[in-house]
């Protein structure tokens, strides 16, 4: 072959004749089949799409939430209502409550009183229409040794018969609604922002699912819908709002919004209402008569990961003499087997 290539080329023949050898054909054919296969495999999930999975023209042309006129918003709310009806066969009331004037929401959590019973976790799941499978939960309750805040060695899978376990304490973690939110800074499409009342919200129709915000959050407060959220029949909370708990599609981020659809009309968040110990406190920090104002003024307050400079609106606080668990801790007591 090497000799042949050096032979003078006859006039009239192309300078590089096509390689018609069996070897060359198989090599090119192999590349072609690999490419075709990859292309086909990449396109094949499209065949499994249901008609409602594809965005309608209205979806596609919808503006960013902040650029919508009231008429645009009404159309978007009606569209969401129709989507939920088609997909989940439920009539919901879609609202978009605006932020209240002179209100900045702040959360307080008494870690001297929390017993780690996880009722807040499940009340939140129910209230906010979170996916049951794959499971999404906004609140994570960490179990730690008393006397230390060692988040790294904490355990959120604890499953003892009863809580609190002796020598343990519990720290529920959820979105801290930071005043300096790293998740908002990293969003490449401005699908998440901070509202005037301090809540960090997501426009689920604008999110592209890049998960940068999940990586940026130091509290692991943001969750991604890896699959179509599964909501059992009859379990959908019909009181939904555009920015908080309307059923989410696959492939977008979601997060705790302090139950915006409840709190912006004066009600307390679901996690607080269910807490049997009264460890959770919520209110308007700008109101000098509010519970949270009193807590920030008079209580010893702990800010989780204060050093990262996120300025959270979620404060852990302590009581003067610690908690009164049913079993007083003491070094002489034998270890609980659980």
């Amino acid at each position: 072959m090497a000799d042949a290539s050096r032979q003078p080329v006859a006039p009239g023949t192309p300078p590089n004749p096509p390689d018609m050898s069996r070897r060359g054909f198989l090599a090119k054919g192999g590349v072609a089949v690999a490419g075709l296969s990859a292309l086909a495999a990449a396109f094949s999930p499209l065949r499994h799409l249901a008609p409602e999975d594809l965005p309608s023209l209205e979806d596609f042309l919808q503006k960013h939430y902040k650029e919508m006129t009231p008429a645009d918003k009404d159309r978007a709310l009606a569209r969401i209502r129709g989507q939920v009806r088609r997909r989940h066969r439920v009539e919901v009331r879609v609202t978009d409550p605006p932020p209240l004037d002179g209100v900045e929401f702040v959360y307080g959590l008494n870690i001297s009183r929390c017993i780690g019973c996880r009722r807040c976790v499940h009340a939140c799941v129910q209230e906010n229409n979170l996916s049951r499978s794959p499971e999404i939960q906004y609140i994570r309750v960490l179990e730690m040794e008393k006397g230390s805040i060692d988040v790294e060695s904490s355990d959120h899978h604890y499953a003892s018969a009863q809580v609190p376990r002796p020598d343990k304490w519990y720290m529920p973690v959820q979105c801290h609604q930071c005043a300096n939110p790293p998740c908002v800074k990293v969003c490449p499409v401005e699908a998440t922002w901070q509202e005037p009342d301090g809540l960090v919200v997501i426009d689920y129709d604008w999110c592209i699912g890049c998960r940068y915000c999940e990586a940026a959050c130091p509290y692991w407060a943001r969750r991604f819908n890896f699959a179509e959220p599964q909501l059992p029949e009859g379990s959908i909370n019909p009181n939904v709002s555009y920015l908080s708990n309307r059923p989410r599609p696959k492939g977008v981020m979601e997060k705790c919004t302090f139950c915006l659809h409840r709190t912006r009309v004066g009600r307390l968040p679901a996690c607080l209402e269910v807490c049997p110990t009264g460890s959770r406190k919520f209110g308007n920090v700008l109101d000098p008569n509010s519970e949270v104002h009193y807590i920030l003024k008079h209580k010893r307050v702990y800010v989780l990961k204060e050093d990262v400079g996120t300025l959270p609106r979620f404060f852990y606080y302590f009581d003067e003499r610690g908690s009164r668990y049913a079993e007083p801790p003491g070094p002489a007591r034998p270890q609980e087997a659980s």
């Binding site: 086909a40 040794e145 020598d167």
Partner: protein
């Protein structure tokens, strides 16, 4: 020969591409079954529902406290075993006397520091006799349950009273069964690593003898 090969090979390749596009055996991600959450896990009812009226039920009958106690004088209180109300177990720390809380003559009221009655419907004032800091926190809202609205001006707000969480005769908050934890299907079953008291800086006595950690 060459011509025939150049025909059937592209046809075979296109057919194979078509098979892949049809995707007869699609890969479907495995999803775990949803965790069964019991109804009590989302029930906002307080842990105790005190009757709220001074009444005592025995043998199917319900009496007002003063039905008996207006007639039968209470003996001077000693450490003796109770002969009535034997179901009451008083485990309230140093507070081991009935008349520290119950009024000596009007049994349908509590007693304040000066021997005057406190109405039955107002137990926080009674508890505040000893639990000053907690009473102050409860009044300000940093202790105790609140339901309804976060601002009394914007809706009804229910402040739960002491005895809706604490049994006055055994006051510490009762241990509860925890609701199901997070599903760890994706990462496989997780063993919670309980290192026991070794990580507890408050329990130096339980630490095994070892060198101080270098970090």
């Amino acid at each position: 020969m060459k011509l025939r090969q150049s025909r059937w090979v592209p046809i075979a390749l296109l057919a194979w591409g078509g098979v892949l596009l049809l995707n007869p055996l699609p890969y479907v991600s495995e999803l775990p079954a949803a965790t069964v959450v019991p109804a009590w896990a989302t029930d906002p009812t307080p842990v105790r529902q005190p009757k709220g009226v001074p009444a005592y039920s025995v043998a199917g009958f319900t009496y007002g406290c003063n039905d008996c106690h207006a007639i039968i004088p209470s003996p001077a209180e000693t450490d003796r075993t109770l002969v009535q109300h034997t179901e009451i177990r008083l485990r309230h720390g140093l507070n081991t006397r009935c008349f520290n809380c119950h009024h000596r003559t009007d049994r349908e009221a509590w007693v304040d520091d000066f021997g005057e009655p406190i109405p039955w419907a107002d137990p926080p004032r009674l508890c505040g006799k000893c639990h000053g800091p907690v009473y102050r926190d409860w009044q300000a809202g940093s202790h105790g349950r609140t339901n309804g609205s976060w601002d009394p001006a914007r809706g009804t707000q229910t402040r739960r009273k002491c005895i809706e969480c604490h049994d006055p005769h055994t006051p510490p908050f009762p241990p509860l069964e925890p609701a199901p934890g997070p599903n760890t299907f994706r990462m496989g079953p997780q063993e919670s690593q309980d290192e026991g008291p070794a990580r507890n800086p408050l329990r130096v006595d339980a630490l095994p003898r070892r060198e101080t950690r270098g970090d």
